[in-house]
């Protein structure tokens, strides 16, 4: 374990790139910075048509009739398709990633505002959009279910009458932990604190909206689909299953992607519409949704109404945690999580603490809102879990009159307890929490901050210090436990070294901005000593990469990163045999130093990996039984998740007159095990912290009582800018994962998971003089002002 806090203001230039891990500018950036990125909307094919989707203006209504005749007659229109037409081909409904079904185009009813009702294909996107205005839909408007708390009321309107025998809006029940044991520790605890918490619905809002270009070749029967997907291989298989197309005749290409955050994991009706349209018209068809469509209809996140309870001894030993959750899944359960985990990984709500018992009971319901559920950098609901535990731990500290840092330090799982099995059955692979916490406190100048706060309080100024300590569970996952619609969550990887010693590595995962082309080149470079600049990283094209489940839930480095290291070692093993032939010694007599083998005890006799590559492809003899070439392929099935952790400290100031919150400082110490490219890690952390400011202070997809979405544009759905965030102060500790080949853990979502509770805790801390113990996100000035007057209200 090393604990370091460094600030690096300079970067290695291209000549000083490390051969392996280290700070290095991103290989992909020149093309992004110079406008040479190639996104789905940049795809232009000869004769390409454009598709636009008509969406429901209301949240819940029966479709009485649709008249498409005027739209069909509109200039430039090639086809108008309704749900009824799709139903004739058995394509009106599709499976979701959670074994539910979702309408591609509504046939019987619309179930949320923005639901897909019909589509137009036309010569350009203007003609397609104009023709939407000419489609006449008659709706018989029904009462909507908007408040999840009312979804199971006996008189609630039934949303999913499409499901056989369904008589209510119940989606699923789920529980974890030991109810009786938890009851017992609560019964004997000195102190029990409970708190209602809402994690409101938020939206990933990637800069690039969703879209696709479908190009079906009716002669060779091949479908090429460029689409904004985080999981091209999984999508290809699902298209094969749903549309009945042979899988080898489907090529899914996920080119440069302008942000995913989970928004691009599901298959959306628009993709299916584009495929159908290309098959029907025989032409390539492009569909790109606009900003409003993205915000109102695609995968949302959170929407958990929680009650958290915590039991402890008077001296601050946490005994148990209990929670009850009402989960709003919208109109269709489109949650993208491993199928055996309907609540994602919410089970890690026991956090970083060694406790005696825990229990969670969850009820999920349907409402007349957009489907989705797991999206937005949430690590499969760990965002909600960490928010819950870190908020109620602060409530407990408040109740005990104990410093929140001290309370956390007192209850941490200790280093010698790892691997640690939690009371909900998760096996934390490794961790060393106290040094991480202490480093964050040292960087923050924690004691000094508390002194400053006391002085300010005495003067009537409002300053708050908030702490969050999180343990993440990332890298789904062991295939015996984790699959998506039957597809095990293991990842393939393939490495080829060319005759001149340059290489190409083919990944099954796909980047939406995480820097895969650099990180994966560095992983391979570290193992075989070829400089990262000489390693091409290919991803995002199912015809050219091995099968794997895609990038989300911070799984790329834990799963595919392991695959890349292992495939490189496999190549190195073969290189060793070839080297033994070249140097005429036995394999056991060779020593590897990055990039070359030399004879043990005789460093002068050596061959480089480049020499070996040439020999492998050359005309000379190779050792007995060795085929030519220097390449390998593997499929990596992780034995466990990886468990990164981190300590975050946030300092806020609140204007007592206007209740505006300013995040003055934010200290983030992350432990993601082995650090491959620290600059990329910091970039991921900066982005996630900014997300956290958004969720804590301003973001929320709200609905009015009729189910109209009130966040349908970026003027209404606010996301933070550089002006809302402080200069991030990052630090790190390193606790390698014991089961990961290079000891790395995921980091993509750590900051999104850890920062909201730190910020909320800081705001509540600042409001202590007003007797405030809790206020829900988003902590807009108006809602903070309510809290100051003792009128904090849930946002929904």
């Amino acid at each position: 374990m090393t604990a370091v806090h460094e600030r690096v203001d300079t970067f290695h230039d291209n000549d000083q790139k490390p051969v392996g891990y280290g700070r290095m500018l991103r290989k992909e950036d020149p093309r992004f910075l110079r406008g040479r990125g190639r996104y789905v909307d940049d795809v232009q094919l000869p004769g390409m048509l454009h598709l636009a989707i008509l969406r429901s203006p209301v949240a819940h209504a029966r479709i009485v009739g649709i008249d498409t005749s005027a739209a069909e007659a509109s200039p430039g229109v090639k086809a108008v398709v309704t749900g009824a037409m799709l139903a004739q081909q058995n394509l009106a409904w599709m499976p979701t990633l959670s074994n539910d079904v979702q309408a591609v185009l509504a046939t019987d009813k619309v179930r949320f505002q923005g639901q897909e009702v019909a589509f137009v294909v036309a010569e350009d996107r203007y003609a397609a959009r104009d023709a939407l205005e000419l489609i006449d839909v008659e709706y018989d408007v029904l009462d909507p279910v908007i408040d999840a708390r009312r979804a199971l009321a006996p008189d609630a309107p039934l949303i999913r009458d499409d499901l056989d025998g369904k008589t209510n809006n119940h989606c699923f029940d789920w529980e974890t932990g030991d109810e009786a044991a938890t009851e017992a520790v609560f019964a004997r605890a000195d102190v029990v604190v409970s708190q209602d918490l809402v994690y409101p619905r938020v939206h990933p809002a990637p800069m690039e909206t969703c879209g696709a270009v479908a190009d079906y070749d009716s002669v060779d029967g091949k479908l090429r689909l460029w689409s904004t997907t985080q999981a091209p291989h999984a999508h290809r298989t699902l298209y094969a299953i749903v549309a009945g197309l042979p899988e080898h005749k489907i090529q899914v290409i996920s080119p440069d992607i302008g942000g995913g955050f989970g928004n691009k994991v599901p298959i959306y009706p628009g993709y299916v519409c584009a495929i159908v349209a290309s098959i029907v018209t025989g032409k390539p068809v492009k569909w790109m949704e606009d900003r409003s469509e993205n915000l109102i209809s695609t995968g949302f996140a959170r929407d958990y109404i929680m009650r958290g309870e915590i039991a402890a001894t008077r001296d601050g030993r946490i005994l148990g945690i209990r929670t009850n959750v009402l989960a709003d899944h919208g109109a269709f359960n489109g949650t993208a999580a491993p199928v055996k985990y309907p609540a994602g990984f919410f089970g890690v709500f026991t956090g970083s603490y060694d406790i005696e018992a825990a229990y969670c009971k969850m009820t999920a319901v349907y409402t007349n809102k957009a489907p989705g559920g797991v999206a937005y950098a949430c690590s499969f609901r760990i965002t909600e879990a960490v928010y819950l535990v870190e908020r109620i731990v602060d409530c407990l500290a408040d109740e005990l009159g104990m410093d929140p840092a001290e309370l956390r330090l007192k209850n941490f799982i200790q280093p010698e307890q790892f691997p640690y099995t939690t009371k909900t059955g998760w096996v934390y692979d490794s961790g060393n929490y106290e040094p991480t916490m202490r480093l964050a406190m040292e960087m923050a100048g924690y004691d000094e901050l508390r002194r400053e706060q006391a002085e300010k309080r005495a003067r009537g100024e409002l300053m708050g210090i908030g702490i969050a300590f999180f343990t993440e569970a990332v890298g789904a996952g062991p295939r015996k436990d984790m699959d998506i619609l039957g597809l095990g969550m293991a990842d393939g990887c393939e490495l080829r070294v060319h005759p001149t010693g340059k290489a190409v590595v083919r990944l099954s995962v796909q980047s939406q901005g995480q820097g895969h082309e650099t990180t994966f080149a560095q992983i391979v470079a570290e193992e075989i000593g070829i400089p990262p600049a000489d390693i091409e990283v290919l991803h995002g094209d199912t015809d050219n990469t091995p099968f794997g489940l895609g990038t989300y839930g911070s799984r790329s480095t834990p799963v595919s990163g392991a695959a890349a290291a292992l495939v490189a070692r496999k190549v190195r093993d073969k290189a060793r045999i070839i080297a033994s032939g070249m140097l005429e010694v036995s394999v056991a007599d060779l020593e590897w130093e990055k990039g070359a083998f030399h004879v043990a005890g005789d460093p002068g006799r050596s061959v480089t990996i480049q020499d070996i590559a040439l020999r492998a492809h050359g005309a000379g003899d190779l050792p007995e039984g060795i085929e030519g070439g220097l390449e390998a392929q593997i499929c990596y099935n992780p034995s466990n998740l990886t468990y990164p952790h981190g300590a975050y400290i946030c300092v806020v100031d609140i204007d007592p007159g206007t209740a505006q919150v300013t995040v003055r400082r934010f200290i983030a110490v992350d432990d993601c095990g082995t650090r491959i490219n620290p600059m990329i890690i910091e970039g991921q952390v900066h982005g996630g912290l900014t997300d956290g400011v958004g969720m804590a202070l301003m973001e929320m997809i709200a609905f009015d009582e009729d189910g109209n979405c009130l966040g349908a544009s970026l003027m209404d759905y606010l996301i933070p800018t550089s002006l809302e965030v402080p200069d991030w102060e990052t630090g790190f500790t390193v606790t390698p994962s014991p089961h990961h080949p290079i000891g790395a853990k995921g980091v993509g979502e750590s900051a999104t998971v850890g920062s909201p509770p730190a910020i909320v805790n800081a705001v509540i801390d600042a409001l202590k003089p007003f007797g405030v113990r809790h206020a829900d996100m988003p902590l807009t000035p108006s809602r903070v002002w309510d809290a100051m007057r003792g009128q904090a209200r849930p946002p929904i």
Partner: protein, 290 residues
């Protein structure tokens, strides 16, 4: 990409040309200045027009800030950025720079105009509150070069509705200059570049120690930006003091009519009307004194 409904487009070559086009095309046409209010509405298809008449080529004719002895005159096509950077306004009415720093973002400010802001008549428009505070007069030109001058109260007929007729164009804003003036603006927003939760402008005119006149303009607290004559009445002839600001704040809270929405509750907005009135009056007095 959000696409507007089809429309025809023409660039005006002079103010009179623009007016003659408006005369011919009537209510089916709209002028486009910076486009930062009009285009978003058209893209969302909340507004559809058959014709757009682009007046951006008239910046030479309508883009200026000029100081006269009795008034400062600003052309309707003067951009936010020019208002922000104007030395004339910095000297006479620092309220402009206060407001411009918190209006939208640099991209919007490079194009958006004073005339467009006033003509949009959005109840949250910051420059409307500034102009109300400064008791601006609006010069409207119609067919045949006929000009009329109206007060801000007359100019704003209702939300998104102004006194400018279909065949007229706003050409100039006139701000009366009186001695001893100090002015300031404050805004509470949920995020940089967002529209106001509430904003307030204040201007005071001092003679010796006493307030000769004072005006407060609020945005986002009612159907239109609101000038509050009762505040002027209460402050005139008084010595500035904290209790006087308190009193003015209380009048501001009483005189406005906010609604609860995503930006905040009506109660909170009322509170802000008082708080920001106090803050801007305090600052305006400091400035008048220095």
């Amino acid at each position: 990409m959000q696409v507007p409904a089809p429309f025809e487009y023409e660039r005006a070559t002079s103010v009179d040309h623009a007016i003659s086009l408006l005369e011919r095309l009537g209510g089916t046409a709209r002028l486009i200045a910076g486009g930062h209010s009009l285009l978003p509405m058209m893209k969302l298809r909340l507004a559809n027009f058959d014709y757009l008449i682009d007046i951006n080529d008239l910046h030479g004719e309508l883009g200026y800030v000029e100081a006269g002895p009795d008034e400062v005159r600003i052309g309707a096509l003067t951009r936010h950025r020019e208002l922000l950077e104007s030395p004339v306004l910095a000297a006479a009415f620092p309220i402009f720079a206060d407001a411009e720093r918190v209006i939208a973002d640099p991209v919007v400010r490079n194009r958006g105009t004073l005339g467009g802001s006033l003509c949009q008549a959005d109840p949250s428009e910051d420059l409307s509150a500034v102009c109300t505070t400064l008791d601006a007069r609006c010069v409207i030109r119609g067919p045949g070069g006929a000009e009329r001058v109206v007060s801000m109260e007359e100019f704003h007929v209702g939300p998104y509705e102004t006194a400018v007729a279909d065949d007229e164009i706003l050409v100039e804003i006139r701000l009366p200059v009186r001695p001893g003036c100090g002015s300031a603006y404050a805004k509470v927003e949920r995020r940089a570049g967002d529209w106001a939760v509430v904003s307030a402008g204040a201007a005071v005119w001092l003679d010796g120690g006493a307030i000769v006149d004072a005006r407060v303009g609020l945005a986002a607290v009612g159907p239109n930006t609101t000038g509050i004559p009762a505040i002027s009445a209460a402050l005139r002839g008084q010595e500035p003091s904290e209790s006087l600001y308190e009193q003015a704040g209380a009048i501001a809270a009483d005189s406005c009519d906010p609604v609860t929405d995503q930006r905040g509750s009506a109660d909170y907005k009322r509170h802000l009307a008082a708080e920001l009135t106090r803050r801007t009056l305090r600052r305006a007095v400091e400035r008048a004194r220095s």
